[in-house]
Assembly symmetry: C2
Homo-oligomer: 380 residues x 2
């Protein structure tokens, strides 16, 4: 059965990108690779909307999160961490591992942080604010533009986990004043997991130089020096960098703003479809990259997930931690089409029917069709 | 022009392994992936000759080196580091980054460490001995079996960088008492760079639990807990793990001991060939995975490297740091055949002829042929 990955990451990878990885391996210290690497570094800046250097690390996204923490804060320095989900909490766990005196800003799961609450907590001794653009565990989008408007005027760095969002939804790294933007490869960038990125502002470099604690593998200064010579500090995941050149070309051919519009439309269609089926959206501030919905009363969300997988080859994710069995999460970022959304919603209707959920079959798909049809009409 | 990677890593990847990476991406939290992951964890034990758990990290080999350091030593604890090359020195650099009081055991580049010198320096306060199986920068093999014979009886852990050796030359992890064995993916394991491995002994786990400092991304305890549930602590480089299943199957089909014999023969052929051309081997204790030779008087080794690449599509490596221009390094590990060696030596003869080096053309290739022909006869 053909499979469709509609998970919040890893997500689908275009076949033409996968094919790049089946080409004979080349060495990274060759003119051929350097050309590719240079193009990738430039392409990432376009997608991340930044003039800042983008450091490429061979690691999962969490590795890049650790790089952001360990390079920019000395032990006992104070940071604010916006919680509200598994990945907000991860910032806190990393800070803890490195002895950073972080203060959690608690946010109810499923809600976005109130920027005013961040502003209120932003005392002069805070050196960094850690937050998330899209919280993968809940599908919530935090208002980074609003948070950036005052953090950038403070002495603190704004550090954003953009892993499940950048390349799918607007992220104006420079205009919003994001000092350290962390991104992973396996989501909207349309390649498999294994690479992670950190876009570092001038202000962040100044602080990094001052802090002087950098670990070794995640030492951003060492990576920066290597990249200045179009090189990597350590042997890079060559195949993934080459795949990334291809996917960045695809993103740029479509145009990043059009990519954002596509995601906005498909997310709206997904939400409209789910709601028309009588389902409740979990997030009060949904990101256009992930849609989480609450399982109908008496129905195990994991059973929905399993049936979609077994019967239709469609992979969505369940809830994590306390949300296990209660919500399901549909990823729609990167290589996602209107057809993928319609197929997923229709298959979901079948599963709900099988499970005896009462709703009007076809209503969800129709609602999505209407969003998609009108959005296409708008573009003409 | 068809290319042949004869570098000391990354090395060639079989096409059937590359093809695995062009298959549609699967999610890592599925039964399908877990089966693959389980097989890979088992296959690595076979190749590493160990019953110890092997932790898989998404990182370059250096990331796994850092994991070995940060998990097993507290700040100010004492370690011995066998130097003698760029990668021996890297152990020292990582120790330094983490405040470990390491004592370098200086070894002349191109020479192997004297195990007696390690034994002499192994005072009771030493908590770990860091060394290298094959020093990539010089092609030297250190005698880990001899070092293990006394370190395993001491209170210190034996930590070995086996990146450019394991899977090519004998490495009896358990029999030699290696407590932390670090391996990379892009050498004898025949897949592209992006995964790294640490095989951890019972003794090492006990120490790790006691030390309690682990960083975050490279926290071996967290990875161990995830792997016990056939999971990864962070999103793994799925494509590379799947490629690794294929390459481990190939290694096991050939049989690891036969793989070692193949490398021994091809290394002997390479050395015989180079010496018959009148070239001097750089290493006094050459590893069967890498052969370094000294450039003839008045000849820039980098020019040899460049001509092999431009004229024949054959990639070898130059010398690093103070050896730049003075030596060249031929990798022969993993997916390497007798034909690859004969082709490389013959092309090298052409380049030396072009460059006006005086020697009897064909003599190097003939010497290699004799080694290979007789080795094949032995096996019949």
């Amino acid at each position: 059965m053909r499979k469709l990955l509609m998970t919040p990451g890893p997500f689908q990878v275009p076949q033409e990108v996968l094919n790049e990885m089946a080409e004979p391996l080349i060495h990274h210290r060759t003119a051929e690779y350097r050309e590719i690497f240079k193009e990738v570094l430039q392409g990432l800046k376009v997608v991340f909307r930044t003039q800042n250097e983008v450091i490429i690390l061979t690691a999962s996204g969490t590795g890049a999160m650790e790089a952001a923490v360990v390079n920019s804060l000395a032990p006992s320095e104070k940071a604010l961490v916006v919680m509200g989900g598994k990945f907000g909490e991860r910032w806190g766990e990393i800070c803890k591992a490195y002895g950073i005196a972080f203060e959690p800003i608690e946010v109810e799961w499923g809600k976005a942080v109130d920027p005013k609450e961040v502003e209120r907590r932003l005392t002069p001794d805070v050196k960094a604010v850690f937050t998330t653009l899209c919280e993968t565990s809940t599908g919530v989008a935090h208002d980074i533009e609003a948070i950036g408007s005052f953090v950038s005027r403070s002495g603190a760095l704004l550090v954003v986990d953009g892993i499940s969002a950048v390349g799918a939804v607007p992220c104006e790294t420079d205009a919003w004043g994001i000092d350290l933007l962390v991104v992973g490869s396996q989501k909207a960038l349309m390649i498999p997991p294994g690479l992670a990125f950190v876009a570092v502002s001038k202000r962040a470099w100044e602080r990094i130089e001052k802090v002087g604690r950098r670990g070794f593998y995640f030492d951003l200064v060492k990576s920066r020096k290597a990249q200045e010579k179009v090189d990597s500090a350590f042997t890079p995941a060559i195949s993934l960098v080459i795949a990334l050149r291809k996917s960045l070309r695809m993103i740029q051919a479509e145009g990043i703003e059009q990519v954002w519009r596509r995601h906005a439309t498909l997310a709206r269609a997904t939400r409209a479809g789910l709601q028309a089926m009588g389902l409740t959206l979990y997030s009060a501030a949904p990101s256009d990259s992930i849609t989480a919905f609450v399982s109908p009363a008496g129905i195990d969300a994991d059973e929905i997930r399993k049936r979609l997988q077994a019967g239709f080859g469609i992979y969505i994710a369940g809830g994590q931690e306390s949300l296990k069995g209660k919500i399901a999460r549909i990823g729609h970022m990167g290589y996602v089409s209107a057809a993928d959304i319609l197929m997923t919603l229709s298959a979901l209707e079948c599963v709900l029917l099988q499970m005896g959920v009462r709703f009007e079959p076809g209503k969800g798909v129709r609602a999505a069709e209407e969003v998609i049809a009108h959005a296409s009409a708008d573009r003409r």
